[in-house]
């Protein structure tokens, strides 16, 4: 298939404020560009580093060690389960890392690719989506920590582990909404470059990463689930250790609703602003 053989449904009207009817079709047509941008970022990411992709392993591993010592051994947080604390931590840390990497990198991606955006047309959503693919690859590497810890502590996975990909997808969707919203807004208001790291730092402590969400008092739990990552982290832990870390269903549904809302808001805002990217960037 050459660029010429592409479907000739190419009657196009360019007008101020005109929504592009073929946007999603275009997004699909440009999937090769999506892959190649992701491939570019992956192959450049660890250039001129000594240990390369091992960084994707080292950082979450060390964080797990520190959190296990701080929350499990010094603060002695109650878990109400027989599951080793390190497993509780990694069960929260993996989805959180996924979330924070997507939000951190995708939100900066549009500005980082300013040279492309001002010279070539493509559906701009490709840019943040490509960074998501890169983050997923790092995530896949860091999954080995989970496997290693489960073997080390002799934790036998339940059938729920098969649902893990579903929760990975949910974590991606939960981060994608705010990420593409921020990616669009940051083009005009660079202030958000400072806001995002702050939100992420803050979020690490208000999300149940170093502790199980069961430590939150019952009357606050629903409110706590307004943070979409609460429900998703709970789901992650449930996949790993099964019934010993049950999902709080009303909260989980609320988390899903918040995720869906941000996704809608993100796509809407992005699409509304993206036509002006080249003029603002």
């Amino acid at each position: 298939m050459t660029s010429l053989d592409r479907p000739v449904s190419t009657h196009l009207v360019l007008e101020a404020g005109r929504a592009d009817r073929q946007y999603w079709q275009d997004l699909w047509r440009y999937r090769e560009l999506l892959l190649i941008l992701a491939w570019r970022d992956v192959s450049v990411r660890y250039k001129q580093t000594a240990v390369g992709i091992a960084w994707a392993f080292i950082r979450p591993f060390l964080t797990t060690v520190v959190f296990t010592v701080v929350f499990g051994h010094i603060a002695k947080v109650q878990t109400n389960t027989s599951v080793p604390y390190a497993i509780v931590v990694i069960g929260g840390l993996l989805p959180w890392t996924l979330f924070s990497s997507v939000l951190g990198e995708a939100s900066a991606s549009v500005v980082a690719n300013a040279n492309l955006i001002s010279k070539v047309y493509f559906p701009r959503l490709i840019v943040p989506l490509a960074t998501v693919l890169v983050v997923v690859i790092d995530f896949a590497v860091s999954l080995s920590i989970l496997a290693g810890l489960m073997i080390w502590y002799g934790v036998v996975p339940h059938w729920q582990i098969l649902l893990l990909p579903l929760f990975v997808l949910l974590a991606l969707l939960a981060s994608l909404g705010p990420a593409i919203w921020a990616a669009a807004v940051v083009v005009k208001y660079r202030d958000f470059r400072f806001v995002i790291p702050f939100v992420l730092q803050f979020g690490l402590y208000v999300s149940p990463v170093g502790f199980p969400s069961s430590v939150v008092p019952e009357q606050w739990r629903l409110l706590y689930n307004l943070n979409p990552m609460v429900g998703i982290i709970d789901g992650f832990r449930w996949c790993i250790v099964g019934g010993e870390s049950p999902i709080y269903l009303p909260g989980f549904i609320l988390s899903l609703a918040v995720t869906a809302f941000f996704l809608w808001l993100g796509v809407r805002t992005f699409r509304r602003i993206e036509r002006g990217f080249a003029d603002m960037i």
Binding site: V8, L14, E15, E32, L37, K47, K119, V120
Partner: protein, 439 residues
Amino acid sequence: MNDTVIRAEGLAKRFIIGHKVERDGLLREAMTRGARALVRRGVDFFKGRVSNTPGEVEEFWALRDLNFEIKRGELVSIIGHNGAGKSTLLKILSRITEPTRGRVEINGRVNSLLEVGTGFHPELSGRENIFLNGAILGMSRIEMRRRFDEIVEFSGVSKFIDTPVKRYSVGMYVRLAFAVAAHLEAEILVVDEVLSVGDAEFQARCINRMSEVAGSGRTVLFVSHNFAAVTALTRRSLVLEGGKLTFDGPVEAGLAHYTASLGKLGKVRHWGRGREATLISAQLLDADGRPTEQFVPGMPLRLEVEVETTGMPGMSLVVILRDQHNVPVGYFSSAAFGNVPLPTKAGRYRCVVSLDALFLAAGSYNIDLRTTSTTIVVDHRVDGAVQFFVNACNPGELGFDFRQDLGFGPLALRSSGPLQFELVSSAELPGLQSDARLG
């Protein structure tokens, strides 16, 4: 199928300039501005006045009310001065930016080439960059794979194809980028001033390739300052002046119209003001004193500048010449070098700065103008006040084509007299002989 591939109706594009919020977009400023506008609108409402846009925002219409039609297979050049709106038009047609008013209808797939080497990554090899750049320009992977060998051969850098491009010389880099660009195919091909950086032979090859593309029934829109390329490649010209379409017709007539319009250039510029001395306009003059955008190496560089002064003594007119990478290559100060400060009687003055014969390499150049006070404090600064092009530079008799992208800098150095080699010692040195024996 309809024969019209592009139809523009009342096309206009506005930019908001000279406003801090639009440039840097700080949230705080937007909020205070929003609050102020709200208050103003409230006051207007109570006073029964019609609210208008706040005066602090300066508008700039890059395109005004453009109407044209382009038929399938037409080869059209768009010519005009810098800032006439050519690039804005191309950006709208390639969907990078949207029009403020009016509409464009396009039938067919547009592939645009506004820059060579868009998205090239320095850490990636030549091979990887070909695929990356191709994908960015809209070629499919299969198409790329099919054309890969052709592209590499065209670029002439096959030996270094697996070396990261950060190790390439500028010339190699540009050749590789061109090679990908030259193999871009589309129903409607939109090409900005990209040929001006290549060397003459390479340009000719690119033009040949593009005429092949053009000959096969595709539509080409082409922006260039290179008259030769414009006449070789296109049949019809659209001439833009100050965002308006002032001519639409055969290419030769278009070029004539454009050349004639050069005389009117530079009268209306929005360069802001300095405190003591303000630059009003500037243009390059050819040997006969007519405005031009082409410079012939070896001739004096004549620059006509209009400047307004309050009569402050000791002010200087400064000219900075920059090459196509915006690297400064020359500096002139009327007070420091020419010992001629600006006049001390307030008023508007015109002068012609004539700089000694320069052998500038082929490529594009920018001239920054400044007025400075005795203390070298910049009073009024206009970056890129004048842009000009050198089409070819042959400093010697042999016809060696000297270009900026060779990586030897923008200035051909000429020896002041005939170069002579005096024999210091012959090749039959003891040292050389023993080396030879060892080898």
